[in-house]
C-alpha cells in the first residue's frame, strides 16, 4: 500500500516551505521493510507482543488538519504530516505556533475542526468516546512537568498506568521491572519523586509512557525543566528508545539538541507547517 500522503505532500504548495530531502519521501513499503526488524527488537526488549498491528502503514497521518477553537482562534491551519513507524521527529516553533494543539489532537484531548488525524489506522475524529482510552494506550506521553504522583513511589507511578487500564496484576510486575531497567531506575524503584533529581523524575515519566508498549512516544518539552547535561542524558535515552523501534515525536525549544542531532524537524508557525526537513536544524538553514 502506498502512502496516502507522502511526508512532503502539502509542503510543496507553500513557497516558504523547505523542500524535504528525498529520504522523507520514502514509500510506505520501504518504511515497512526497514522497521520490521526494529520492531522485533522492541518486542524482545520491551516485551508484549503486538497483535493486529500492520507494519505497512505510518503511525501517524495528519491530512488537511485545521483546528479552530470556539473563540475563533485558528490554532492549526491545513496541516499535513506523516510520521512513519520508527521515525524520530522534532516539532519546533515559537510559543503559540500550534504545537500544543497538535499534541492535544494526537491524544484526542481536542478534535480537529476539519481534516483527518489518523493514528495507527484509526481516524480520531470519528472515534467513539468509549474507544478513546484504547487509542491513548497506543501513545506514551511525557510532559515538561513530569506529571508524577508525589505520594507514589517510582515503581507505583509506573505501575499506575497499567493498574488503571485493568492490566492483570501478574503482568504488571514484570512489565514495570522491565521498563525501569530500560530507563536505568531499578535502584530507585522504591523512592518517591521528591527524592529524585529532575532527570530521574523525567526518566520515571518516560518509563510510565513506555510501559504500555506504545506505538508512539510524544514528548512535550521534556527537557524544559532540566539543566543542559541532564537534558542530553534524557535525549540519549529517547534516542535509545527510538532505536528500539518506538516512534518519537518531541516538541522542544531546545535549539542545541535539535541542531546537533540532525533528525527530522517539523517547524510550525502560526498554525502552519512551514518546514518539514530530514536532518534539519532548529532554525532554517538556507
Amino acid at each position: 500500500m502506498a502512502l496516502p500522503i507522502a511526508p512532503s505532500d502539502g509542503v510543496g504548495a507553500d513557497p516558504v516551505r523547505h523542500v524535504p530531502e528525498p529520504s522523507v519521501e520514502r514509500s510506505l513499503s520501504a518504511i515497512s521493510s526497514e522497521v520490521t526488524p526494529a520492531r522485533s527488537v522492541r518486542e524482545r526488549l520491551l516485551g508484549g507482543g503486538r497483535s493486529g498491528v500492520r507494519a505497512d502503514r505510518p503511525v501517524l497521518v495528519l491530512h488537511d488538519v485545521t483546528k479552530q477553537y470556539p473563540n475563533g482562534k485558528v490554532a492549526l491551519n491545513d496541516v499535513d504530516l506523516v510520521i512513519p513507524e520508527g521515525d524520530f521527529v522534532f516539532l519546533v516553533g515559537p510559543s503559540g505556533a500550534g504545537k500544543s494543539t497538535l499534541i492535544k489532537l494526537l491524544i484526542r484531548d481536542e478534535v480537529a475542526t476539519r481534516g483527518a488525524v489518523v493514528l495507527d489506522g484509526l481516524d480520531l475524529a470519528r472515534l467513539a468516546r468509549r474507544h478513546v482510552p484504547k487509542v491513548r494506550r497506543k501513545i506514551g506521553i511525557v510532559f515538561q512537568d513530569f506529571k508524577l504522583l508525589p505520594r507514589k513511589s517510582v515503581w507505583e507511578n509506573v505501575a499506575f498506568a497499567l493498574e488503571v487500564t485493568g492490566t492483570p496484576r501478574r503482568r504488571i510486575r514484570p512489565a514495570v521491572d522491565r521498563v525501569l531497567a530500560l530507563v536505568g531506575l531499578t535502584a530507585q524503584a522504591r523512592q518517591h519523586p521528591h527524592q529524585l533529581s529532575g532527570g530521574e523524575q523525567q526518566r520515571t515519566a518516560i518509563a510510565r509512557a513506555l510501559v504500555h508498549d506504545p506505538r508512539l512516544i510524544i514528548a512535550d518539552e521534556p527537557t524544559g525543566n532540566l539543566d543542559p547535561l541532564i537534558s542530553w542524558e534524557l535525549i540519549q535515552l529517547l534516542l535509545r528508545i527510538n532505536e528500539l523501534g518506538v516512534t518519537v515525536l518531541m516538541a522542544t525549544h531546545n535549539a542545541d539538541v535539535v541542531t546537533a542531532l540532525r533528525k527530522r524537524v517539523v517547524a510550525l508557525e502560526e498554525g502552519r507547517v512551514i518546514r518539514d526537513e530530514v536532518g534539519g536544524a532548529y532554525h532554517r538553514m538556507d
Binding site: I107, D109, P133, V164, T165, G166, R208, H212
Partner: protein
C-alpha cells in the same frame, strides 16, 4: 468484574488515606451536615406529632333532646359511625356530663355549685372525633344544617337538638397547623438543599485536589469506569464513615435528647417509637447517597472533556 471492584475499593481506600487532610475535612463536613439534617428531622417530627395531636382534639359535640330513647341514640350513633370521615363516636349521658362538670370545677378549685340544683341541667350528647379535622364542616352539615320542622332541633337528625358551632375555632386551628406543617416541610427542604450543596462541594474540593491524578489516568488510557468508580467508592466511604460518626454522636446524646424531648412534649401523648429507625435510615441514606452523588458529579466534570 470482581477484579475491577477490588481495584476500585483498593484505590478508594488508598485515595482516602493518602489524601487524609481532604478526606477528614470532607468526613467532618459530612458529620456536621448529617447532624444538622437529623436534628432538624427530629424537631420536625416532634412538630408534626404535636400538630397531629392538636388536630385530633377537634371534635364535634351534638347535644341530644332529653326525650330521645336509647334506641334512637343507638341508631344515630350507628349512622354517624358509618360515615367515612368519622373516627370514633362516644355517647355522653346526662349524668356523665354532670360528673364532668363537677370534676372540672374541682380541678379548677372552684366551689361545686351543682348541689344547689334541683335537677340535672345538662343534655346528653354524642362526641364525634374525626379522621381529619378538615372534615369538620362536612360532618357537621350532615348532622345539622337546617332547623327541624318545629323550628327546633335539626332537620337531618331529629334526635339532635343542636351542634356546637366551632367552625371559626376549627378554621383557626387548621390555618395554624397547616402553616406550621408547610413551614416545617419548607425548612426541612431548605436544610436538605444546604446539606446537599455543602457536601457535594466539599467532595468536589477533595476531587479537584486530585485533578492531576485524574489527568494522568486519562492520559495513560484509563477508561471512564476505572477513573470514576474508585472516586465513587471513596465518596461512599466518606458518606458511610460520616453517617456512622453522626449516628454515634446521636446515640450518645440520645438519652439527654430523649429526656429533653419528653419534657418538651410531656403534655402531649406522642409516639416516638419509629423515630430512632427513621433517623438511622435518614442519616445512612443521606450520607451514602450524597457521598456517591458528590463524587459522581465531581469526576464527571473531568470525564466529559
Amino acid at each position: 468484574m470482581i477484579g475491577f471492584v477490588a481495584f476500585s475499593i483498593k484505590r478508594a481506600w488508598q485515595g482516602f488515606w493518602r489524601n487524609a487532610v481532604m478526606s477528614i475535612a470532607a468526613t467532618a463536613t459530612m458529620v456536621l451536615m448529617l447532624l444538622l439534617l437529623a436534628g432538624f428531622w427530629i424537631i420536625n417530627t416532634g412538630l408534626l406529632a404535636g400538630l397531629e395531636y392538636t388536630e385530633s382534639k377537634v371534635n364535634i359535640v351534638a347535644d341530644l333532646f332529653d326525650n330521645v330513647t336509647d334506641r334512637q341514640v343507638q341508631d344515630l350513633m350507628a349512622r354517624v359511625e358509618a360515615m367515612p370521615e368519622v373516627a370514633t363516636v362516644h355517647h355522653v349521658t346526662r349524668e356523665e356530663a354532670l360528673q364532668r362538670f363537677k370534676e372540672s370545677r374541682r380541678a379548677e378549685r372552684e366551689e361545686d355549685l351543682t348541689r344547689f340544683l334541683d335537677s340535672n341541667p345538662f343534655h346528653a350528647s354524642i362526641e364525634i372525633s374525626l379522621t381529619d379535622a378538615e372534615h369538620y364542616n362536612v360532618v357537621q352539615n350532615r348532622l345539622c344544617s337546617e332547623p327541624g320542622p318545629t323550628g327546633k332541633g335539626c332537620a337531618e337528625e331529629p334526635a339532635i337538638e343542636s351542634v356546637k358551632n366551632q367552625r371559626e375555632l376549627v378554621s383557626s386551628v387548621l390555618t395554624v397547623t397547616r402553616f406550621l406543617q408547610t413551614a416545617g416541610a419548607v425548612a426541612l427542604l431548605v436544610i436538605g438543599m444546604i446539606v446537599l450543596f455543602i457536601i457535594v462541594n466539599t467532595i468536589r474540593l477533595a476531587v479537584v485536589a486530585r485533578a492531576d491524578e485524574i489527568e494522568i489516568m486519562r492520559l495513560v488510557g484509563a477508561s471512564d469506569a476505572f477513573i470514576r468508580w474508585p472516586f465513587v467508592f471513596e465518596g461512599a466511604m466518606v458518606g458511610l464513615l460520616g453517617a456512622g460518626l453522626a449516628l454515634g454522636i446521636l446515640g450518645t446524646a440520645a438519652d439527654q435528647l430523649g429526656a429533653f424531648m419528653f419534657d418538651f412534649f410531656r403534655v402531649l401523648p406522642l409516639e416516638f417509637g419509629g423515630l430512632a429507625r427513621d433517623v438511622t435510615l435518614l442519616v445512612l441514606g443521606a450520607g451514602l447517597g450524597l457521598g456517591v452523588l458528590g463524587s459522581w458529579v465531581s469526576v464527571r466534570t473531568y470525564l466529559i472533556r
